[in-house]
Amino acid sequence: MPPNDPDAEHVMSGDKAAISRALNLVEDRRAVSQSRVAALLAALQRAPLAASGHRVGLTGPPGVGKSTLTAALARSLRQHGRTIGVIAVDPSSIRSGDSLLGDRARMSFDPSDAGLFVRSLATAGEVGGLAYAANSAVRVLAAAYDIVVIETTGVGQSEIDIVHVADTVVLVIQPGSGDVLQFLKAGIMEIPDILVVNKADHEQLARRAVADLQGALRTAHAAGATGVHDGGWQTPVLATSATGATGIEALIAAIDEHRAHLEATLADRRRHGEVRWALELFSRKHGEHGVSTLGGEGALEARAEESLGGDETPLSLCERLSQEYLTTLGSTPTRKT
């Protein structure tokens, strides 16, 4: 690794400057940087926390109070003495002028707290709702913090990528989110691991919303819908009020319970997520033709299953497959800047 590169040991020890440099590096899209990214991520893979920690995806439609909920979650976790890293993903393209990395505005936190780290990532036009570097950024924070929360905006199919990155997917809605109910019932969306009704300040409204969701879950199950993750998990429905800080402890308990439920299958699940992520990246870059040239989806998936997990990361695998594809095409890879 060049001397200027962030040191994995420092990242693991929670040195914020090193963590920030590591995030800068994984966001770097230049071809020349990719080997450094791969080396860093491989080193971080060996962090004790990388295996024992928990990656939680918090997703839901705009305006349901995800940022405030994340902040409340962070405060509670810190009070329990657990450390937390947050990746706040901007919902849409900077270029279309739709959004801005404003999430921090809703989080009021102690700047001297070494156990809390917040980074926002712009999606810059990525389809699928997650930023290019999100998977790598999660790996960086997972090496340093007990819990990593990835906060994204979306509902239905747009947030599907979060499943590849998070161990536990929490879907946040507010009372009266009728479209979510319909999506669930119609089986358009997969069932999240935890459902949260936020802004439940009105007890009666909240109770009804929780009951509606439980009903929708039953309908969805009856119609044969599957969970984002399976394995006999019963999706709990919780009510929270991030501003009133109620229901936060119950949410933490549910998150922990899901983590315990995953224990045996976690490694497999994470590898599967990375396989999907790598293939997604590759097919976004080279399309159908790329996939079929290299033997089709099945073959690629098998190769990915085999190679990911050690020093190979979704990004480096995607890069290798790209080169192979371009070589097959008979052209040498042009140096992309």
Binding site: A17, N24, D28, S33, G97, L101, G102, A105, S108, P111
Partner: protein
């Protein structure tokens, strides 16, 4: 006509000057001088720590003590502020919101000490928290708790201080935040409706007495340079308020339905270039709220000609007061009935505003009312958009501003020959003096009494009882502003309002030079990103207690528009937080916005903390009301560029920012 053949003159409006700085004693002296000059009411400007519930010794108050107003931390300060001014004869307006219950409690406590009957006290507490979330930024607590304080004050005064105006619903700051006349009307009205509904919901006022509450509602309005339309806006206000009080609250007494308002004319349109022109703008804007008798202001305070340069001196404020006196006493304005009754032109314009405003009122009510539309960011977003549109129109010359984008050549103004002396500077010692004085105050009082008063306040805050009585008792016990606010923070927590920036959409012209410029800037950004490997990231920070966020917001959305990744965290972010965010977010550039005059304390503080965090290389730019001598000093201390209100061309600023990132990258 009167018997001697002269026309009967109407009584003039109350004339005030928004004033206060440094210490209570210094401000008291200023008030006496102003009254001697013929001012007929007082308007107290509090400093930002007092407005946001901090004592001078709190780290958050750093650099802000005595800057934009007077610090009032305890009953001793309130005594000194009104030393020799008989409270039972004064008409005192206090620009105070989140801590309004507390400052009124101190005022009532001092009146009690003087033996004055609260029944005779006259004056106004601004007490409008909604517009603080939207524009002015001195809120503390979440909306529900804030509305509870608002209603506590109203229900207390209606019974105990019946001549007091417990609230000034402010459309003023909405215009300062960019509101169009329609928006100003609509959002002020939904705020008033939100407050009255909340008062009703307390159940403390019997149905038969509710008209009294409605009758005490007053407004604080703005008037801009399009003074005919502004006058029509005032007439529209009268009509709409009559409608709301009659139809929604069933008030039958026309006196209780009257639209009563005070005014400060527009500061947003005052220019740093050729600042002497501002006095003309101020006079024209005053006409908007005086010409029409049926919609004339009850009280007027005018800004000073040099407000875009820094804090006005007593002479500058006197000049504005003289403008009021000449209009009221020299001209024949007050001798006539309403001049515009029956004017088809005025009536048509008024009706157009009535209709468009009512439509927007209904839109907000449909969204759950003012509080809900604050929490969801709906209103804030509309305001940010309007302001962006206003700036765009000035930048491309559609809206003419003399001396700024047209007729810019001219002889140098003798008024600003010596620029540094053309504004007021607050003694840098004030901060330390106040801290020391506060220490003495805390040593000399009875700690058991203080603790008991605070405990009672916390208990009341948790209950449904009125916080006023516990606050007045706390005032007598020697409790400080910071202690009062902290006790309530413990119970209710603090709030951070939506910035309105994330959802705001900017109208980008499809063609023309401005479209070309943006295209060029975006191309440069793409090229820079390709070289750097990631998109340039800008942190926009507002350190200190100043809540005027227009500048920061407009820079944030413009920067996003040309392609920066922008992190904007809202107002009142400490230097420590700014440095933490810069570190965690991995930013390439930092922009700081400060309008309270505390730039010489706050900017170097951020710089030294960045260096300590190993981020000394990240370029910083600063913006605000920053006098040239201060700008010079900041540049010497390493600030890459300083922007002031005269830098209205955002495209040029963006080009500078891209240069800075580029140069820094090349140096690495």
């Amino acid at each position: 006509m009167a018997e001697d053949g002269r026309r009967q003159r109407d009584k003039p409006w109350i004339m005030r000057t928004y004033a206060g700085h440094s210490t209570a004693a210094a401000s008291n002296e200023l008030y006496r001088t102003n009254l001697a000059k013929g001012q007929t009411g007082l308007s107290v400007a509090f400093d930002l720590p007092t407005q946001t519930g901090y004592d001078a010794d709190d780290p958050a108050a750093r650099g802000e003590v005595g800057k934009v107003g007077v610090p009032v931390s305890h009953i001793g300060h309130m005594r000194a502020l009104f030393e020799g001014l008989p409270l039972d004869q004064m008409n005192t307006s206090m620009t105070i919101n989140a801590t309004a219950v507390w400052l009124l409690s101190l005022y009532v406590a001092v009146a009690e000490e003087h033996g004055a009957d609260p029944q005779v006290l006259r004056g106004t507490t601004q007490n409008d928290i909604i517009k603080e979330y939207l524009s002015r930024g001195t809120y503390i607590f979440p909306p529900a708790a804030s509305m509870r304080l608002t209603t506590d004050l109203i229900t207390y005064t209606v019974e105990n201080v019946p001549k007091w105006n417990p609230i000034n619903i402010c459309s003023y700051h909405l215009q300062e935040a960019g509101a169009t006349p329609t928006q100003e009307l609509a959002y002020a009205l939904v705020t008033a409706i939100g407050v009255l509904d909340a008062v009703k919901a307390t159940g403390r006022i019997p149905e038969s007495e509710f008209g009294k509450v409605v009758g005490r509602m007053s407004f604080f309005v703005n008037a801009g340079i399009r003074f005919i339309e502004e006058m029509c806006k005032m007439r529209a206000f009268v009509e709409l308020w009559d409608r709301v009080t009659r139809d929604r609250y069933g008030v039958t007494d026309p006196k209780q339905r009257r639209f009563r308002y005070g005014i400060q004319v527009n500061s947003l349109g005052l220019t740093e270039q050729q600042p002497e022109n501002n006095i003309i703008r101020i006079v024209l804007e005053m006409l908007a709220v005086t010409l029409s008798k049926d919609a004339r202001a009850r009280a007027i305070q005018l800004p000073a000609w040099n407000e875009a340069l820094g804090l006005p001196r007593p002479w500058d404020q006197q000049w504005s007061l003289r403008a009021q006196q000449i209009l009221a006493y020299e001209t024949d304005l007050l001798e006539y009935a309403d001049l515009f009754q029956g004017s088809e032109v005025v009536e048509a314009q008024t009706q157009q505003l009535v209709d468009s405003a009512w439509e927007e009122v209904e839109e907000v009510l449909k969204r759950g009312g003012a509080v809900a539309a604050v929490e969801s960011g709906y209103i804030k977003q509309r305001l940010v958009e309007s302001n962006a549109e206003r700036l765009r129109a000035i930048e491309n010359g559609e809206q003419i501003v003399v001396g700024v984008n047209k007729y810019v050549e001219g002889a140098p103004s003798p008024l600003i020959e010596n620029l540094d002396e053309a504004i007021l500077t607050v003694d840098a010692e004030v901060d330390a003096q106040q801290r020391e004085e506060l220490g003495r105050w805390k040593r000399d009082r009875d700690p058991a009494k203080v603790e008991a008063a605070l405990e009672e306040l916390r208990r009341v805050a948790r209950s449904n009882e009125n916080t006023m009585l516990a606050s007045i008792a706390a005032a007598h016990a020697g409790v400080t502003t910071g202690e009062w606010a902290n006790a309530l923070r413990e119970v209710w927590g603090e709030y951070r309002a939506p910035t309105g920036v994330s959802g705001a959409t900017v109208k980008t012209p499809a063609a023309g030079t401005s479209a070309e410029t943006i295209k060029r800037l975006r191309r440069r950004m793409d090229e820079l990103e390709a070289r750097m490997g990631r998109r340039p990231k800008l942190l926009v920070g507002k350190p200190g207690l100043d809540g005027h966020s227009n500048g920061a917001e407009q820079i944030a959305i413009k920067a996003r528009d040309v392609g920066f990744d922008v992190v904007y965290e809202g107002i009142r972010v400490s230097p420590e937080q700014i440095v933490a965010s810069a570190l965690e977010e991995g930013v390439h550039l930092i922009g700081l916005s400060i309008l309270s005059g505390s730039h010489l304390e706050l900017v170097p503080d951020v710089v030294s903390r960045l260096r300590a965090a190993g981020l000394g290389d990240v370029p910083i730019v600063a913006g605000g009301i920053i006098p040239e001598a201060d700008a010079e000093q900041l540049r010497r201390e390493g600030i890459a560029a300083v922007y002031t209100p005269k830098d209205f061309e955002l495209d040029n600023i963006m080009s500078d920012l891209i240069d800075l990132v580029d140069r820094q990258h090349a140096a690495e």
